[in-house]
Amino acid sequence: MWSTLIAGRHPDAARRMRGFALSIGSMLLGLTIGGCGFNGTEYRWQLPDGFPTPLVPEDNPLTVEKIELGRRLFYDTRLSANARQACASCHRQEHAFSEPSAIAIGSTGQKHRRNSMALVNVAYSATFTWAHPGITTLERHMLIPLFGDAPIEMGAGGHEKEILQRLKVEADYQRLFAEAFPFQRNRINFDNVSKAIASFVRTFVSFDSPFDRYAYGGDDSALTESEIRGMNLFMSERLECSHCHSGFNFSQFVTHESNAPAESPFHVTGLYHIEAQSADGFDFGLFEVTSNPADKDRFKAPTLRNIEYSAPYMHDGSLATLEEVLDFYAAGGREITQGVWRGDGRKHPAKSAFVRGFVLTEQEKQDVISFLHSLSDERFVTDPRFGNPFAPDRARRE
């Protein structure tokens, strides 16, 4: 990756880098074989032919043991201070790891301003959350739900010892941590917790929708006539959807082994354009991170895979159905006529040129919706490997 990146600018430097990396690599290999021995079972991605392998941070290689530990932690409510909430409370498998409510509610009852995001192919994401250019690894993102206090999600901050103690006393966790992080002392710590959960979430890969069978599998019968018409519309200049929801993940935010760092623009879709000078609690998206006025109301275009399962939609869950989303784009944005957030999103000065509005017949509208449904991967939302390990009763520990 690095060598290719540099190669674009300095071929010689890249060659030297590669040589250097090779010698370091072989030294490390020697050390591993000669010295420490077994570090876990390497995870094998099960990707359809030709699909690129996601990037994995060098300091957290993906192993079967870490994934297994991460799976337990993801579903364990004892990871939150008051033992009420797990990652899985807001990220539910049957909803493509989102939840069917407009906004998330944290473990202490605090309201989040945002909708719980679906976790689909996040291993390919270049940045995380609805609008943050700086969170570029899952490991780093994990700290937000665990320790964030605005709003409190799992509220682990200040309760670290207590939470770790809960894990330390359990024989199961002692074994799982030992398998996942051999050759470490004090291995039950939050660094390893986040590495393990990130490893589990990284395996949430979904490429088995009817659309995939048609597009990548070459199966002409995998889509209906209506779905094909909808797909053609989705990818047309008239609707422009694929300008922002582009590439194999229907999102602009894709990185993987073989490509350059993704261009990561955040967009104004015209969902809001508040008239008020200030509005307490209003979510300005990217602006809240960068403080650059030009970034007001910019959000990332999330993947549309499994979108059928993850209603309601948009960063604040303010559109209930896919029909509403389509009407929103057809109108070229949304006008809100009442309340503190009133204003005409359609006239937002920074609105993307690709949200121009369009007119669809009833049939065409139906076709686009059918197409969006053809992005559903039933296997993904039922795959037992991603399910609750605390089964047999599958009850969450709440």
């Binding site: 030709g50 690129p52 300008h243 490509n259 350059a260 993704a262 000065p349 040129a353």
Partner: protein, 270 residues
């Protein structure tokens, strides 16, 4: 001196011959770098932010004073170049993403001009994005199997709005958006560029963003991204490429193109 065994001597001699041959046949070409540079011309500050300025280049030839053409063999340098195609990125993200030059080898020594095509050749243009090798592995430069890639993508802003010009082939016929056409598209829209009177290995080629900006900002519609013939936002922009919107071919070898120039903005273009 101990005499070497016969076989050794033969091997040794044949090595010498091979090395000699490689030295005189193989390496007549020189390593060449052709730089591009974004030029805001006299539109200067009116153009707000240039969010994206990328284009594909292929079939590059360097020209000497006599008009003799030397093909530039592109060096495969992922993620920006394959042996057939290069992607130039003059804006990038966070600076790290820039790629402002073509790199390769060419024979000849003194150059005073260059010829190249902007776009992706038909045989490479309608591939499966997922398995596409660099520099074609770019989701945000890909429309669909049917229409292929955005040959040139320019996204600009001024104080009030965003402008976009995305050029690629149109009139591509296939069973659906995710099936490739068998026949070339009816409007290929490949721009041919020829620039003379400068040494392309020493002076950068200027990419005149001001020309795009001027034609885009005078129009109501702020995008020109496909329907080059009938979209009202397109007529003026497309004229800057030297292409004819009606058939997607160069008019007069695209000699009227104004996007790529040499020397400072005020110089006349070829």
């Amino acid at each position: 001196m101990v005499p070497l065994p016969r076989t050794f001597r033969i091997i040794f001699l044949s090595w010498l011959t091979i090395i000699g041959l490689v030295a005189c046949v193989g390496d007549r070409s020189n390593s060449v770098v052709v730089q591009f540079e974004m030029d805001r011309g006299d539109a200067g500050n009116a153009i707000g932010e240039v969010r994206d300025l990328r284009f594909y280049v292929h079939d590059v030839e360097l020209l000497d004073a006599s008009g003799q053409a030397y093909p530039l063999a592109l060096t495969a340098l992922a993620p920006w170049q394959s042996a057939d195609l290069a992607l130039i990125d003059l804006v990038g993200q966070q600076q790290t993403n820039l790629n402002t030059a073509l790199r390769g080898r060419a024979q000849g020594e003194q150059f005073s001009g260059i010829r190249f095509k902007v776009g992706v050749p038909f045989t490479l243009n309608h591939v499966n994005l997922v398995t596409a090798a660099p520099p074609l592995d770019r989701g945000d430069l890909f429309w669909s199997w049917q229409t292929g890639y955005k040959f040139l993508r320019a996204d600009l802003t001024d104080a009030n709005r965003e402008w976009s010009f995305h050029l690629g082939s149109t009139g591509c016929v296939s069973a659906s958006a995710v099936r490739a056409p068998d026949q070339p598209c009816s409007r290929p829209n490949l721009i041919r560029v020829e620039l003379r009177g400068f040494d392309p290995t020493k002076e950068p080629i200027r990419v005149r963003i001001d020309e795009l900006f001027k034609s885009m900002s005078t129009l109501q519609s702020s995008v020109c991204t496909g329907d080059y013939e009938y979209d009202r936002g397109c007529a003026d922009v497309i004229s800057k490429t030297g292409l004819q919107a009606s058939n997607g071919e160069c008019m007069n070898d695209c000699r009227g193109q104004r996007l790529f120039t040499v020397h400072v903005s005020s110089a006349t273009h070829q």
